[in-house]
């Protein structure tokens, strides 16, 4: 070294004392978050996984090792298979409806007509409403006797008798899908609108000069540009819908019978109403593996950059 300037310093792989101290500072910044994470997320999660191999009920709350008993019970239970399928139906339909409405709504607002900004702000409101409000409001709109939907359908003479939507299995499922789509459409729109605003207009104009129709512009210019946003939004929505419990529970409590009892509700009922914590944890583990499919796609997409 003998007094000469070490020109390799900036790119040298071994790091100096200053940089080391700086890195330690950076790590220390993350410690509070890591502590919260360990206590409130990772430990509860792992402990639930462990609990799924134990028998722990209201009568005998002290966990006793039970091997795969809880899982065997689930997989032998036809009702559980139905709950899983029901969850899938809810997630697929709610996600597709929300995505379609959100994308169309973003394209509409992107036209930039007068009042588009105000319309965007107002239509975002459903997204900030408390779940209990969303649930009550939709139950009221769909009310069998005094609901406004029945009133309008009656006026238009589309139905003869009022329909008690929440009393029929299909009606209740449709109701929770509709309520969830109402809640999330504007959020999805926000993501798409932000992406549309970065759309290179030269490409659209070039396509127009070639005589491309709206459909072709959408298919060959807009859609490829939206691809990444589409994947991220779809996966986030699917994960959110798999997690959904508040609106469904408040609206139908999983009923009628168990027509809207998705996995989240099954965990709640088994765990906090029947106090069978081992079995609830086992449902949770199966549920986790279901969520991990979209989650892995999400993580791969966002970590690719």
């Amino acid at each position: 070294m003998s007094g000469a300037v070490d020109v390799r310093w900036p790119t040298q792989p071994g790091v100096g004392a200053i940089e080391r101290r700086r890195r330690r500072f950076g790590f220390l910044l993350t410690v509070p978050a890591l502590v919260c994470y360990l206590i409130l997320i990772l430990y509860p999660f792992l402990s639930s996984v462990v609990l799924s191999f134990f028998k722990s009920t209201l009568m005998a709350p002290d966990p006793v090792y039970a091997g795969f008993d809880n899982f065997n019970r689930l997989f032998g239970d036809e009702a559980f298979g139905k709950a899983w399928l029901r969850t899938l139906v809810f997630v697929v339909l709610a996600t597709s409806l929300t995505l379609a409405l959100g994308l169309i709504w973003a394209i509409v607002l992107n036209q930039g007509f007068r009042g588009a900004k105000l319309l965007r702000a107002v239509t975002l409101l459903p997204w900030v409403m408390p779940s209990a409000v969303t649930a009550m409001l939709w139950a009221w709109l769909l009310h069998g006797q005094y609901g406004v939907l029945n009133a309008y359908l009656g006026r238009l003479e589309l139905i003869d008798e009022p329909i008690v939507w929440l009393a029929s299995p299909i009606g209740a499922m449709a109701a929770i899908i509709l309520a969830k789509a109402w809640l999330s459409t504007a959020l999805v729109m926000t993501f798409f609108l932000a992406a549309l605003q970065t759309l290179p207009m030269e490409q659209v104009e070039a396509a127009r000069l070639d005589g491309a129709s709206n459909r072709r512009v959408f298919r060959y210019v807009v859609l490829p540009h939206l691809k990444k946003t589409l994947v991220v939004v779809m996966v986030l929505q699917a994960m959110g819908n798999l997690q959904q419990i508040d609106v469904i529970y408040a609206m139908t409590s999983g009923g009628p019978a168990s027509a809207t009892s998705v996995l989240s509700i099954e965990v709640y009922k088994t765990g906090f109403q029947q106090w069978n914590m081992g079995l609830a944890a086992a449902i949770g583990v199966v549920w986790f593996f279901t969520i991990s499919i979209p989650a892995v796609i999400y993580l791969r997409t966002i970590f690719r950059d």
Partner: protein, 279 residues
């Protein structure tokens, strides 16, 4: 982007736009309209669009006969508390991840963000006894802490993309001037990242305010309830048919989030979409 020069295309556009706008806006209007109607106008076969004799009776009943004000207060405490905690904790961590190349950086961050896939209901199975052992069950502190679960992972991710956009040269320049890391954080980074921090604070506030199920499980006594379970248990159920009061209470329960959101919308949308839309 769309070319609407043919009347047919214009018609389709307008029909689609009106349909979606109605789907999103009409329920909101119906909430307000029902809240303002006297009973005689609510319980009819063909209810009118406008309340013909608007009244505040429903609001009086909603406040007078229920614990709504207590619920609002409890929600305010837990939502503000958890927003403050989440924002500061997530902010520090995101800055650490975005600007310092320590060794375990990538796996730790992946681990934190992957937490979004752990089902909340499953976590509650263990958080519940945890709170019971520490005496925090049925307490505002316990609920506030539990709410960190909802928004910590995504807050870290949102702020990470935010901090990544701060130019490295700015930090370097401050370092050359002899500023300590803490001073840089306070005087350079904090002012620049304020919009992102506001976005995350609003986001966490909303998660907490809108929650139903954690509060329903953790808070067992009536005077500890937050608005979610409060509304559901007092205004909604087979026994309860006072839809006017229910909608008035819903209006009051939504007002704080709607107002917060209205004022901070610009920051919020910027911060939230930054991550997903880039590239």
């Amino acid at each position: 982007m769309l070319k609407l020069n043919k009347p047919g295309a214009q018609l389709i556009f307008v029909v689609v736009a009106v349909f979606i706008a109605a789907f999103l806006i009409f329920p909101l209007w119906w909430l307000v309209s029902t809240a303002l109607k006297p009973e005689a106008e609510i319980f009819v076969k063909y209810p009118s669009f406008w309340p013909s004799a608007p009244t505040f009776r429903n609001f009086e009943r909603a406040i007078g006969t229920s614990g709504l004000l207590t619920y609002l207060r409890n929600s305010m405490i837990t939502a503000v508390g958890s927003a403050l905690i989440t924002t500061s904790v997530a902010g520090l961590a995101a800055y650490g991840f975005a600007k310092f190349r320590f060794k375990a950086r990538q796996p730790l961050m992946l681990m934190l963000i992957a937490a979004q896939m752990f089902p909340f209901a499953v976590l509650l199975i263990t958080i519940y006894p945890l709170l019971r052992h520490t005496g925090l069950l049925n307490s505002l502190t316990g609920l506030t802490i539990s709410y960190i679960v909802f928004s910590l992972p995504s807050s870290i991710y949102i702020l990470y993309t935010f901090f990544s956009q701060i130019p490295e040269e700015l930090l370097e320049a401050a370092r050359i001037d002899g500023a300590s890391e803490l001073k840089i954080l306070r005087q350079v980074v904090l002012p620049l990242s304020l919009p992102g921090l506001v976005a995350v604070a609003v986001y966490s506030f909303m998660w907490a305010w809108n929650d139903l199920f954690y509060s329903l499980t953790i808070m067992s006594s009536k005077d500890m309830r937050t608005v979610g379970p409060g509304l559901m248990l007092e205004f909604f159920g087979e026994m309860q048919q006072d839809w006017g009061a229910a909608m008035a209470a819903s209006f009051l329960a939504s007002a704080p989030v709607v107002l917060t959101f209205a004022f901070l919308q610009r920051y919020f949308i910027q911060g939230l979409t930054a991550g997903a839309v880039k590239g």
